[in-house]
Subunit: 384 residues, 2 copies
């Protein structure tokens, strides 16, 4: 084992001030074996809890997001869904008490591979137990218990957060009244598994990954950056990029003598510079091992693991209303999977609405085409 | 400069016996600067040239293919399009004289980055001049001149081969009578540029790439293998893989203790094993530098470079008939680009037929869904 680097988690905490941290248990056992001592979840809140605690909205995040869904007093920096969470927005903080949770295994304050294992005094790294969506949901429920929340008005899950939400729903049949599933699925299919597998392989093959024992001064940045670019290919859409970039050349790129841009400058096409810019931002904040664990957890998720059929599994809950939003240009969680999820949700007593949206930005549309998402979500919340 | 490795080209020639090699000129100047001395193209033929030389079909290949389109006397191994080229097949060798050419810059016998630069006695590697589709077409025309072929009955170009064919067409307005364009485009769009850019980046970031100066005993196999997997993501389709693999676990995989499969075994899902298997085959035969050059050439291609509009450029040829075949599930060269190409081809005196095919295998459908492609091509050739 190489020299330990106890500062690894602090790096990520520094970049994300203002969240609350809660020790959710003395110890939790993980679904695929192993356990965590004194696990912690990071979360943030907006709005006020009503006296009857009937106005709780819980937002569970995609793979790469922190709990900072919107700006707040503790952290005025814009959140990843600032346009959706706030006064008079889709999730109105004058009306609802909103909790956004950083998933177990992530690197923005919650216990994950970059956290210190209290038993060894070293970061977990690859000694972190295998992580499943089920474990995330277990941890989230423990946090809600600590917060004395026993009823969720509306549970919101985009992307991986949708799987996390489904696991929470079926683990706790009476917890959730309404559910908004966004660009998610009841299981991962091989195309998306392949994309994630390749992202993980790129990270693992970065010599600086060192079987997970990288230092925070010298992390596997090439691997994480390239993995992020590959992610972007699956998060956006060809149509969007054709309209937005076409064959435009990058104005900023210093075209090097070498055709293949050995340095990180020299990307000739604007699409190449765009991806480079976004991926560099990501490589500087996301822990490589955490990425590997979260990514594999998504591959493993399958609602069928909870019962004889997804319909029966979902039919056992007391969920009243569901809104399933998907986007036609999504290649990672295709629209066919949204339709299927809505059908599964409808099979019991839940009233499920399925909407196939005409956004052009692919899987990430929920982060950018806010007008159309706001309209659908407001309409749903007003009519339940 | 590191120690030279003159055996690099022999490696690839050994894996592809039976082709002819032809020195096409004393020297050629390249479009973006630089020149090649004594350039050579590799090619293979099937059938017999008629006395009036009116039965020539020229097949230009995709990025990764050799000239070995089908088995022949010199090389009885199956070709990459064996089901399409042969007696009574779509391209009937009893009727036509078929020539398949390994593109300039490729590594299966034609002059490319792995070839010896006769002036230095060393492989070109990154001293190979910048390569364009235009240069490929120039070289192909020189080969046809050497073979005393001045009339092509039908020019066939799938994928990159379609761009190569378009360049040949517009460079030589009286050369080609009929054209079959398959899953190709008149220009590269940003989504496909991004995919290829990322493939190149993965190769370049492999420490064994060594700025192009790898040895053939120790090439950047990780980079090439991962690039190939990324290619496969763009060559096939999510629907095909959902039907074919679903969530099946790999029977052959030795699931290692480590979740992330540090070794090349341990891919848990069948889709992961499938990609690994195909990519390993590829890493062992394709030269990394050649891949970089060919890939960038595709990004650069744009028919607009030849004139004021693609319609005018194509309208200047004496092309009589064109068949443009595309596949609805193709994400690399989407069906909208096939339609557009057919419209451009129709603008002059060419009669262009556009067919949008219902194949499920994405861009690679032309290699696997042979029944539907055979039907369309036979019908086209019988009616011209």
């Amino acid at each position: 084992m190489q020299k330990s680097d106890n500062n690894i988690i602090n790096l990520f905490e520094k970049s994300n001030p203002g969240f609350h941290k809660c020790k959710i248990a003395e110890s939790i056992n993980m679904k695929r074996g192993g356990s965590l001592s004194n696990p912690v979840l990071a979360y943030e809140t907006w709005g006020k809890l009503s006296s009857t605690k009937d106005n709780v909205i819980v937002i569970l995040t995609g793979l790469s997001a922190s709990s900072h869904v919107a700006s707040n007093l503790s952290n005025p920096a814009p959140g990843w869904w600032d346009g959706m969470v706030g006064k008079n927005k889709a999730f109105d903080i004058d009306k609802y008490y909103i909790i956004c949770i950083n998933s177990l295994g992530s690197c923005f304050g919650s216990t994950g591979p970059a956290s210190i294992n209290e038993i060894t005094g070293e970061p977990y790294r690859l000694t972190f137990p295998e992580l499943t969506i089920d474990d995330m949901a277990q941890a989230t429920k423990l946090l809600l218990d600590k917060l004395e929340i026993d009823h969720i008005h509306t549970l919101v899950g985009p992307s991986m957060g949708g799987m996390h939400a489904l696991a929470l729903l079926v683990q706790n049949s009476n917890l959730v009244k309404n559910f908004i599933a966004i660009s998610t699925a009841r299981q991962s299919l091989p195309y998306s598994i392949a994309i994630r597998s390749l992202q993980r392989e790129v990270i693992r093959k970065d010599p600086l990954w060192k079987n997970g024992y990288y230092s925070h001064e010298n992390p596997p940045s090439n691997g994480v950056r390239i993995a992020r670019k590959l992610g972007m290919l699956s998060y956006r859409s060809a149509d969007e990029w054709a309209q937005r970039f076409g064959r435009k050349r990058s104005s900023k790129a210093e075209i090097t003598q070498n055709t293949f841009g050995i340095e990180n400058t020299g990307f000739e096409f604007e699409i190449e510079s765009y991806l480079e810019h976004l991926a560099i931002k990501f490589q500087d904040v996301f822990d490589a091992n955490s990425y590997l664990y979260l990514s594999r957890a998504i591959d493993w998720f399958d609602l069928i693991d909870y019962g004889s059929s997804p319909e029966k599994v979902l039919g056992n809950t007391t969920l009243t209303n569901a809104l399933v939003l998907g986007v036609k240009t999504d290649t990672l969680f295709p629209i066919s999977q949204q339709k299927e999820l809505a059908e599964c949700l409808s099979s019991g007593s839940t009233k499920a609405i399925y909407k196939s949206l005409d956004c052009i930005q692919g899987h990430d549309s929920f982060l950018v085409d806010l007008e159309i998402f706001t309209k659908e979500i407001k309409c749903f919340l007003e009519n339940i």
